[in-house]
């Protein structure tokens, strides 16, 4: 009897709360599936980027934490193993032949081995990783500042973005890639990391090289980086939106 009433009340509540959504939701769903409305919604991304860049000093640093703040478990999200034969070969050889090539719109393209990258002055930072899903984890990253590599290759004046080509491929054979504005490559905390919490990067976290781009969300932190290409425009690369997740509908500007 009492149970029935609870169910009844729940149904009533569900009905009342759902009434508005019953009318509005199909409308919202239709709008989401079209193209014109999402293109209006995406205008907010440009506004957010414009405002955030205007009010954030170019070199303002992300908060750096203490050793005691490090997450006991740093979740590995997205792809956790590229799974290709080529990559498995690199794992077997402990990445001794892994090269990171920086080219595209630069004066002098250079390829660095993992050992060569480790010869650059390293930067270690304990920072917070904010996933687009909502969770955060704190880890200690060590790597080479990307700005130092940029100063070696010298970008041409028409280079606007750095595109990160990765070793991982999804179930449908789509290769992972990411991109960032050239200006963000020079941020002191933007590093190509090869260590997490004092140990060489493991496969789930992007071995041997992953990007740390501390002022944006987790999906921008490209793993398994093989090649960095400087370009003038992102259109023409894969889906044209500047990244694997961007091609799936996520914002390219992931500052929030």
């Amino acid at each position: 009897m009492k149970y029935d009433r609870v169910i009844e009340r729940r149904q009533f509540l569900k009905g009342t709360l759902g009434a508005v959504s019953l009318i509005a939701l199909p409308g919202c769903d239709n709008l989401s599936q079209g193209t014109w409305f999402p293109s209006i919604l995406s205008k907010a991304e440009k506004l957010t980027e414009g405002v955030q860049r205007a009010i954030t000093p170019t070199n303002a640093l992300a908060k750096e934490y203490g050793e005691g703040d490090i997450s006991k478990v740093f979740p590995a999200n997205g792809s956790t193993d590229p799974g290709t034969a080529d990559y498995a070969g690199h794992v077997a050889k402990n990445f001794s032949e892994w090269m990171v090539e920086v080219g595209g719109l630069v004066q002098t393209p250079v390829s660095w081995s993992l050992a060569a990258l480790k010869e650059f002055p390293a930067r270690t930072q304990i920072t917070r990783h904010d996933c687009v899903e909502g969770w955060s984890a704190i880890g200690k990253w060590t790597g080479v500042p990307l700005g130092d590599l940029m100063r070696k290759v010298v970008p041409l004046s028409n280079a606007k973005f750095a595109v990160f080509h990765c070793a991982d491929v999804d179930e449908e054979g789509v290769r992972y890639y990411e991109s960032m504005a050239l200006v963000d490559c020079y941020h002191p905390q933007t590093i190509l990391a090869y260590e997490l919490n004092g140990a060489p990067l493991d496969v789930p976290h992007g071995a041997p090289i992953r990007l740390r781009f501390e002022r944006q969300l987790g999906y921008k932190q490209a793993k398994y980086v093989m090649r960095i290409e400087l370009v003038e425009t992102l259109s023409g690369i894969a889906g044209g939106k500047g990244g694997y997740w961007e091609d799936e509908g996520y914002e390219w500007y992931a500052g929030i």
């Binding site: 729940r10 569900k14 709360l17 759902g18 508005v20 959504s21 019953l22 509005a24 939701l25 919202c28 769903d29 989401s32 999402p38 209006i40 919604l41 995406s42 205008k43 907010a44 991304e45 506004l47 957010t48 955030q52 009010i55 954030t56 000093p57 303002a60 640093l61 992300a62 908060k63 934490y65 703040d69 997450s71 006991k72 478990v73 979740p75 917070r128 904010d130 996933c131 687009v132 899903e133 909502g134 969770w135 955060s136 984890a137 704190i138 501390e214 002022r215 944006q216 969300l217 997740w245 799936e248 509908g249 996520y250 914002e251 500052g255 929030i256």
Partner: protein, 322 residues
């Protein structure tokens, strides 16, 4: 002094007009012109005793307030529902900077029980509640908030974020417009700020609200003290909290304004406060809509659409006022 204009009788009452300045004072009678003249003739006591309650029309909400109010409606619905979509991507809340997955303060999860059946379980501070059908597991799908409560209804974090961030901007721009207008037009100081007399009457106002007794006559022309406090709480506390916690979740904004993380106690704490502020909005909307219905649905809706609100004066009250 009474002058008749198209069934509306304009009256001049110096003191009343002072209390709610800027509001036009018009009395409307349900009678035809000729009858209205007779009814409102103060020297005719027989006519007075026969007349029905007087209807006074007041211009209660000015255009900028009305526009701002109606823009809030879709913005809030979309923000709440797309917010639930975003929450569904990681349906747990924590305090501090990290999300240590073994110790959430709140989580909404689908769980398979012994007989193989799926149940939705909401855990708050370690206490578990079976919320199957609404939270955690609904309509044969594993999701924290059910499809009817999210935008879009299907699982899509990317689309949920697009809706959320667009309408967040719209709400903020609308809020800035309303705040500027309210300060310049003195809507804030005149209509929203409670007076000393208001605050002294708060005990009685609470009793009246609990008994569902609402202000009538001249008192119904202005916001009552609880109404004023509710609006002020939402405008000056909950809405700013919502915006600041939203910004505190932005890794870029955190570098520009590190104090945001300090005041909320970390990014995950800010996410939790954002969620609490969301449910404060939900609570406000429920009470607000209930009051709109209880105090005259049609009259209230009309006043928020056209600006004009009708106040009925009981016979004794209205006769001495005129």
């Amino acid at each position: 002094m009474v002058s008749v204009k198209n069934q509306r009788t304009k009256i001049d009452r110096g003191e009343e007009a002072e209390q709610v300045p800027g509001l036009a004072k018009v009395v409307e009678t349900p009678f035809k012109e000729s009858q209205a003249l007779t009814v409102n003739q103060p020297d005719d006591p027989t006519a007075r005793s026969a007349s029905p309650p007087l209807r006074e029309r007041v211009y209660r909400h000015r255009l900028p307030v009305r526009i701002s109010h109606w823009l809030n409606v879709p913005c809030l619905f979309i923000l709440i529902m797309s917010g639930f979509q975003i929450f569904n991507a990681h349906p747990a809340l924590y305090w501090g900077d990290r999300s240590d997955r073994d110790q959430p303060l709140l989580s909404i999860r689908p769980i398979r029980v012994e007989n193989g059946e799926m149940r939705g379980v909401t855990t708050i501070l370690g206490y578990k509640f079976d919320t199957t059908g609404v939270l955690g597991y609904s309509d044969a799908s594993r999701r924290a908030f059910p499809a009817w409560a999210t935008i879009p209804s299907a699982k899509s974090l990317a689309m949920g974020r697009q809706w959320h961030l667009f309408f967040a901007w719209l709400l903020v721009i609308n809020g800035l417009f309303f705040a500027t207008y309210s300060l310049i037009s003195r809507h804030a100081s005149r209509d929203l700020a409670p007076t000393g007399k208001d605050l002294r009457g708060i005990g009685q106002a609470i009793k009246n609200h609990i008994a569902l007794r609402h202000p009538k006559g001249a008192e119904a022309k202005r916001y009552n003290v609880l109404q004023k406090l509710a609006y002020i709480l939402i405008l000056c506390v909950v809405a700013p909290l919502m915006i600041l916690t939203g910004l505190a979740m932005s890794p870029t904004i955190d570098t520009a304004f590190p104090w945001l993380l300090m005041i909320f106690g970390g990014r995950q704490a800010a996410r939790m406060v954002h969620f609490i502020a969301c449910f404060s909005f939900v609570g406000f909307i429920v009470v607000h809509v209930a009051e709109v219905i209880l105090t005259g649905f049609y009259n209230n809706i009309r006043s928020m659409v056209t600006g004009w609100f009708v106040v009925k004066h009981e016979h004794e009250g209205s006769s001495h006022e005129i």
